[in-house]
Amino acid sequence: MKVSLFITCMVDSIFPQVGVSMTKILQSLGCEVLFPSSQTCCGQPAFNSGYSKEARSVAISMINAFQESDVIVSPSGSCVGMIRHFYPELFSDSPEWHEKALSLANRTYEFSQFLIQILKVETLGARFPYTVTYHPSCHGSRLLGIEDEPIRLLKQVEELQLIELPYAQDCCGFGGTFAVKMSEISGAMVEEKTSHVLESGASVLVGTDMGCLMNIGGRLSRKGSNVRVMHLAELLYEGRQLAKGVDAQ
């Protein structure tokens, strides 16, 4: 299967190792992985702040970037949620672009959903001998409908001990520009989230959205915690390398 990566601006610029891990997992599952290089950002920062015109321009460049792609996979439930739910709405006044937006929406998948729903993969042959807790990001779960896909993938990892995160469903306080605009409330939210992470006793926090993980990880780092924060793709890739006896790092 030909799979095009929508890597997201955040993974591209700040967390490239997430993209590398995802690429290697998809390649090992027999996918031909492509990277349309004119992609940028899903447009969510502008859209969520009310700047639909600006979000539209960015969405147009994204629709063009993936015009030739059969299937698009992304390491972010939030960005995929944006494409699936809001791209068609953004172009409700233009039948031509609405059609194109719908087509992109129908071809775009979040990483864990793609593995489970499309590739029908549950077992990746990974080993990860650590205690892990999982934060379900709001947009991934509530907007896109990620349910237990990440949990199913984690449960098949050998020696991984999954610990429930207290108040897991509560927002971490990222919310894109919210974190800067309403920084005091956002700070209080991430403080509570990190206290639950520490309370869980897990040595690794895993998630499916780097925005939330950058927020939670940034707070953990400020608190001097040594809990490791990882994207699901990183954990699975590192787990596969461990199972093979190769040091992923």
Binding site: I7, C9, V11, D12, S13, I14, P16, V20, K24, F35, S37, S38, Q39, T40, C41, G43, P45, A46, F47, N48, S49, G50, Y51, S52, K53, E54, S57, V58, S61, A65, C138, H139, R142, L143, Q169, D170, C171, G173, F174, G175, F178, A179, V180, K181, M182, S183, E184, I185, S186, G187, A188, M189, V190, E191, E192, M214, N215, G218, S221, R222
Partner: protein, 473 residues
């Protein structure tokens, strides 16, 4: 609709900043909202088919509001047929004037009230007190708030921000002696005190949870039984209701009787569901001999026909969205600066009140969507919050520096070449600020972030720079 507390000149960001410092407030709100949402979860799980009930609730409310003119006309006709005086108020001053003139025509001096958000919205107490009328709140939470000279901070639990100790002190100031902080002692004092008020008041004012169009009935959901006293003991009963509070039939009420208490407080059934159809008839043993219903518009009809916001009128005021909102959790209700706090308040307040007073409330959300998930009638509050922001930007009232920032964002992110260049520039710009791969120094737009969190330094190579090596494998 302005809040009586004196912080409304501040922005919601400033009010939030102050509220976050108040550990006591945050603990009180966390404690109670946790209890409410846990109880709700337990009760809806054991009830079963919750999503089906929500859909049914949404259908009923959407149908009613889409045909509000017809159902409202039917309701008014039925009310008048059973002997109720109906008053329609376009805005809050018409509503308060209507109430005042009823009271003055009776030469009444004392009013007892049960809980009503519409009465808060029109600030009826201030208005009546300014005209020399004594108003006594008889809902326990509202009574506490009245003694504290504050406003409610939650639409179901008005005194959610008050502790037992604070309540005891307020009651002692009101004449109690040697009170403990036990619930039983505190409520016993309120009962004793309020009993004589019920018996001496000439007017009773209640709200209205639902008005049934087919029967002309006013339906009230309460837990303390105080509303039954308020509507039955004084000779005159005045009902204050928002014009959207209509349900077509009693069969629709059955659905709401499941949705409302389960969502609001996690109760399977409400303690008292009182249905009142007209004033006392000659054969009745008790009841008010005269009944008035004041129906308030106050900005509601402006939402009719609005594709984006009409659904805000579906709200049944259960407060479930407040109980799950992480922003409400950390700043409480008063920081919203509006009578209606929480996600519903952030959507509703700027709609009911024209002008810019509440225009910053839609930004008090991380758009996590917990409000929509909790809403028993499936109002897409998280979408409406974004639509509010779009409206503000489209009207040209957005923050000018933000406008420039997003213009810049568009110029970079809609042009792949500029985007690639900008990553390199950001790396160069940020690198002097980083120590051991972390940015802690607060500068420019990142200041809010770095106050409580580290920001990661951009790596030497972006994914797209690494990509050629991955592709070859």
């Amino acid at each position: 609709m302005k809040h009586a507390n004196s912080t409304s000149h501040l922005s919601v960001k400033e009010r939030a900043k102050n509220a976050v410092q108040d550990e006591f407030l945050r603990n009180a709100v966390r404690f109670t909202t946790d209890r409410l949402r846990n109880r709700k979860q337990a009760v809806t799980e054991s009830f079963g088919q919750w999503e089906v009930w929500r859909e049914r609730g949404e259908q009923i409310r959407a149908h009613t509001i889409a045909n509000l003119d017809a159902y409202l006309a039917q309701f008014i006709e039925r009310l008048e047929a059973v002997g109720v005086h109906v008053h329609f108020a376009v805005d809050s001053s018409e509503a308060t004037d209507a109430v005042l003139s009823i009271i003055q025509s009776k030469k009444a001096r004392k009013v007892v009230k049960s809980k009503s958000m519409v009465s808060e919205e029109i600030h009826i107490n201030q208005h009546l007190e300014a005209n020399g009328i004594t108003v006594v709140e008889t809902d326990l939470g509202e009574y506490i708030i009245q003694l504290a000279k504050e406003t409610p901070s939650h639409i179901i639990i008005p005194s959610i921000h008050k502790s037992r100790e604070q309540i005891r002190d307020l009651f002692e100031n009101a004449g109690a002696t040697q009170l403990t902080t036990e619930t039983r002692d505190l409520t016993a004092f309120a009962r004793r005190t309020l009993r004589s008020e019920f018996l001496s008041a000439e007017i009773g004012i209640t709200g209205c949870n639902f008005g049934i169009a087919e029967t002309g009935s006013v339906v009230l959901f309460t837990n303390e039984g105080n509303a039954d006293m308020v509507m039955n003991l004084p000779p005159t009963h005045i009902v204050l209701m928002g014009m959207e509070r209509i349900l077509p039939t009693l069969a629709d009420l059955e659905v709401m009787a499941h949705l409302l208490p389960k969502s609001a407080t996690g109760q399977n059934v409400i303690t008292y569901m009182s249905m009142l159809t007209g004033p006392k008839r000659s054969a009745d043993r008790d009841g008010a001999t005269e009944m008035h219903v004041v129906i308030l518009d106050n900005g509601r009809s402006r939402q009719l026909g609005d594709e984006q916001f009409q659904a805000v009128l579906h709200c049944i005021r259960c407060g479930a969205c407040l109980n799950v909102c992480p922003v409400y959790r950390h700043m409480g209700g008063h920081a919203y600066g509006s009578v209606y706090p929480g996600p519903i308040g952030a959507v509703l307040s700027p709609l009911l009140e024209k002008g810019e007073q509440y225009s910053d409330l839609p930004y008090a959300s991380s758009l996590c969507g917990a409000c929509f998930e909790a809403c028993p009638v499936r109002i897409p509050l998280h979408d409406m919050l974004v639509q509010h922001r779009q409206k503000l930007v489209a009207s040209g009232h957005g923050n000018p520096s933000e406008r420039m920032a997003f213009k810049g964002y568009e110029n970079i992110f809609a042009k792949p070449g500029r985007y690639r260049l900008s990553i390199k520039m950001a790396r160069k710009f940020l690198s002097p600020l980083a120590k051991e791969g972390k940015i802690r120094s607060s500068f420019g737009p990142l200041a809010g972030w770095t106050k409580s969190r580290d920001f990661p330094m951009l790596p030497k190579q972006s994914f797209r720079e690494i990509w050629p090596s991955l592709k070859r494998e």
